[in-house]
Amino acid sequence: MAGIIVYVLGKDGEFNKNSLGAISKAAQLAGEIGGEASAVVVGESFDDAKLAELGKYGAAKVYKVTGPEGVAQPVVDAIEKIATENDIKYALFGGGLLGFEIGAGLTARLNWGVTAEATGIRAEGGKLIVERPVLQDSAIVDVAYKGDGGVIVSRLNAFEPNDSIGAAGEVVDTPVEFKEHSLRAKLVARGVQEGADVNIEDADVIIAGGRGLGEAANFSLADDLAASLGGTVAATRAVVDAGWFPYAGQIGQTGKTVAPKLYLALGISGAIQHKVGMQASENIVAINKDPNAPIFEFSDLGVVGDLHSIAPKLTEAIKAKKGA
């Protein structure tokens, strides 16, 4: 018997989709290694009825912990206690920043190995083997755990939620004594949406701008191109953090996941954390002056050149074509 526990993130009464995907994956794997999948939720955002719903996605038990929300270290304390008392050998996280932080802390606490960016997990001989891409997805390694157990932090959108796995989960009230250092980080504000509210998830055509635009004002190049194609403008985290574009229009790991018919990148390198949010796009076009930019590895049409000279002429050409 070796259980798998999944940390479930949520806000405003909704569970995170990636957490739900992780539960469904854990339920499948737990069956194969002869254990049970469970979930842990820390905070007070969800009532028992809502928590029990995690059972549908595959959590036999839902450990409910009262404690601070939105910070990692209290969750490390909670999972340490639950894992130790319940013969749980693996902790699975559906990606997300807290997932990385909690997973890493747990690694140290329980002396378990950790694997980040997992895209696949399989059971072999009662143990889990993790598949993770490395070196900008140029290879995939199979990783096994030595010793007692393992922490798995999966890549964004790696696993799909399935809400027809089980019945209501058993909600278990779990008091946890937090460590002094775990309570020192205090969340003052959570989930502030810096910038305007833009909708990129429903767009068929997305023109995405990155640091290669050079400055905030040059987003007008993306705006013009988007207008000519009837599309919407989106961005990378680099430019959102720099204040050039609203957070609501960010694609990637800590932003939105999109899958438009056309995704066209202006000055975007194609970092993994961006790629995970747009790789399902039907057609990917990238303009980047660096021939070695990773984005060309997954573009249908790559253009090695200066966006400042190409984008305005492209806008004109499309307008002319449409006018014709």
Binding site: A104, R184, L301, G302
Partner: protein, 264 residues
């Protein structure tokens, strides 16, 4: 106060990185450099000091082979007052868990008020080492910080998580990993580069800092790479290589591509 900055030697960005099929580790031969993400952590330390925080010392700490001395010189040229190199054959092949433990042992003897590090290493694509170190030290920890203010003993920080920007307050001591949007690292002056080699550099072995040899290196690591596989085959896209040479032709090709795919 004392700030420790964790730094790492990584293969130069221009060097094509690959896995060594025999050891199943990243082949780290060839040109090496200070992990570019770490320069933001060094800059953050220097800016805290310049901003008036009572910083007595900035200490750069690395774990790495002999060659990582150059990385420490670079870190010192960027503002550290001295540096510590943890180097030992026993540490080779350490995974995230073992590396975090070993670094925490070095830091224990230094007792810093603040530990800073970069958001990720250029070669490993993990964002986890800070939180591992913090748990060993029993320090609070936060990663991916893009705004940071110190008032008295309290750090106020902003970072982006899944639902938008979070603001978090922490009383020191703490372990903080900083995002690359936090600052624009400066270039060292020639004088700083020349002077770096003269600043104190302590070399420590695993035993010097009380590391349990059974917890580090390949043997002490808790993960093991079983196999290296190629990614799923994907149809190669089309590449216009010298697009600036004839912008009109480039634009025409993009337009015809969009038409072929019925996108206009």
């Amino acid at each position: 106060m004392k700030i420790a900055v964790l730094v790492k030697e990584v293969p130069d960005a221009a060097v094509e990185k690959r896995l060594d099929p025999a050891s199943k580790r990243i082949d780290r031969s060839g040109e090496k450099n200070l992990n570019p993400f770490d320069t933001h952590a060094l800059e953050a330390a220097v800016q805290l000091k310049e901003g008036g925080a009572p910083v007595e010392e900035i200490v750069a700490v690395t774990m790495g082979p002999d060659s990582s001395v150059r990385t420490l010189h670079k870190a010192v040229s960027l503002g550290a007052n001295r540096s510590i190199q943890l180097t030992d054959d026993a540490l080779a092949g350490s995974d995230v868990n073992a590396t975090g433990y070993a670094l925490a042992k070095v830091l224990e003897s230094e007792a810093p008020d603040l530990v800073l590090l970069g958001q990720q290493s250029d070669d490993g694509e993990n964002y986890t080492i800070g939180a591992v170190v913090a748990d060993h030290l029993q320090f609070p920890s936060l990663t991916q910080v893009v705004d940071l203010k110190l008032e008295g003993n309290t750090l106020t920080m902003k970072r982006q998580a899944e639902y938008g920007y979070d603001t978090v307050e922490v009383d020191l001591p703490a372990v903080i990993s900083v995002g690359d949007a936090l600052n624009e690292p400066r270039y060292p002056s020639l004088k700083d580069i020349m002077g770096a080699k003269k600043k104190p550099l302590d070399t420590k072995s695993a035993a010097d800092v009380g590391i349990d040899a059974g917890q580090v290196g390949e043997a002490g690591s808790k993960t093991e790479v079983l196999a290296i596989n190629p990614p799923p085959a994907k149809e190669a896209g089309e590449l216009i290589e010298d697009a600036d040479a004839d912008v009109d032709a480039t634009v025409a090709r993009i337009v015809s591509f969009l038409e072929e795919r019925k996108l206009i």
